[in-house]
């Protein structure tokens, strides 16, 4: 009995390893980081207990892409911390009986002010792009569901999303949110 539905994934990893590495180098611009991330991809799929995956190669790329995003997000937060005030925080763990020791806080971008600025920018999007963006990102509909709701193709939805993101990037550039 095969306990590893990811056996297909493991085989795909071996088959596409070189390509994945090349992708990670191109994506991060750092060969050393790319090697590390490739290891993390392996660890992730080894631990995975998912159902059958239709396109293992695409799945692997998506895992790699998400891991890169995690790193990029972390770099951004560290940069935000440099200019932030948080110097004392409490490292509270539910399973620790004694009071926590202060540790240096890494301040993330929790800000109702940020949400307000994002909302204002989203309000300025062109009608089609704006509607698709709100349905997908704020209401949580899939691309397919948005396509059905708007009476357009999935490719049409992708086009709207691309358009929306490009517009938002331009509108928010000076705030350096993205």
């Amino acid at each position: 009995m095969n306990d590893f539905p990811s056996q297909g994934l493991a085989a795909a990893y071996v088959e596409h390893r070189a390509q994945l590495l090349r992708f990670l180098v191109a994506r991060t611009g750092q060969p050393a980081d790319a090697e590390e991330l490739l290891q993390e991809v392996w660890l992730k799929i080894e631990a995975a207990r998912s159902g059958p995956i239709g396109d293992p190669r695409a799945y692997l790329y998506r895992v790699a892409q998400n891991l890169v995003l995690d790193r990029v997000r972390e770099v951004k937060r560290r940069a935000a911390r440099e200019r932030d005030w948080a110097d004392v925080t409490l490292d509270q763990r539910a399973d620790s009986p004694e009071p926590a020791t202060p540790a240096e806080a890494e301040a993330a971008l929790l800000a109702a002010g940020e949400a307000q600025r994002l909302a204002e920018a989203i309000a300025k999007l062109p009608p089609g792009a704006g509607r698709a963006f709100r349905l997908h990102k704020l209401e949580g509909l899939s691309h397919a569901e948005v396509a059905a709701r708007m009476g357009i193709s999935r490719k049409g939805v992708e086009g709207h999303m691309a358009n929306a993101l490009a517009h938002l990037r331009r509108l928010l550039a000076e705030r350096d949110i993205g």
Partner: protein, 310 residues
Amino acid sequence: MNEAIDAAAARWFAGQDSADMDWEGFTAWLEADPRHREAFDAIALLDDEVTAQRVAIRDAVDGFARPVAIEAPERRWQWPALAAGLAAAIVAGVVLVPARQPADMVWQTEGATQTIALADDARVVLAPRSRLVALNGDARRLTLDGAAYFDVAHRPDRALTITAGGYQVRDIGTRFEISSAAAATRVAVAEGQVAVTRGDAQPIALTAGRSLVARGTDIALSPIVADQVASWRGGTLVYAHMPLALVAEDVARYSGVGVTVDPRIADRPFSGALTVGEGAALTNALAAIPDVQLRRDPAGMHLEPRRRGG
């Protein structure tokens, strides 16, 4: 910023989940120019931010929280006016700001509570007749007048500071209440831990099941049952040895009825439960305090020492 590159990055990003995503083509595009990966990072982070703030953005788009935005006056550097303006400004003690400050976000309640979503996983229930301000729109730095119950998910990378009545409460994810009024500032923790400090003083760590009453430099700690933190959300006020002056302030806030307390009994400890919103029950509970007399007049209720032989 190159719009063509951003547009391409946005197209690659939007298509990454489709069945026909060309990963090799995407790799080649990334390899073609280092600016491509930077642009893609920016788009990916922007999308990530929208996801993280989804609830708050949706609320803002719907106008749910109906914040009252206070605009700071815009000041510009203008040479002809500068000399005269500068002299006047120095005299007035005003600091010239070359750029416009982001607006404060203000929530103000009247007779009802208001629930505010600061983020997907951070919620504040603002008590009646209270005011919460996010300075320059930054929800990590809040100022509170009145009372509020905070329910903030634990995230080690996020810290909140709430300034209330001259004290700062720092937290990274807990359930707690802060109540600030003239007589005292109170902090009670239902879950997690906060640090309470005043100015540069050594912070006091307040853990779950503990509450703190601070008046000036006088600080009293006592236990509290987690369920009773911010019991006003359910319409009852529960006290164990709480100075009458503070009880009176709570009654005023939650019932809208003014209550004054004679200074001679302001520190008298009160224990019991008061139901808010039922006038007679509230009055009866207050009148039943031993050695305390309840007097009513058009201004409200007054708690005074009971006269002997009355």
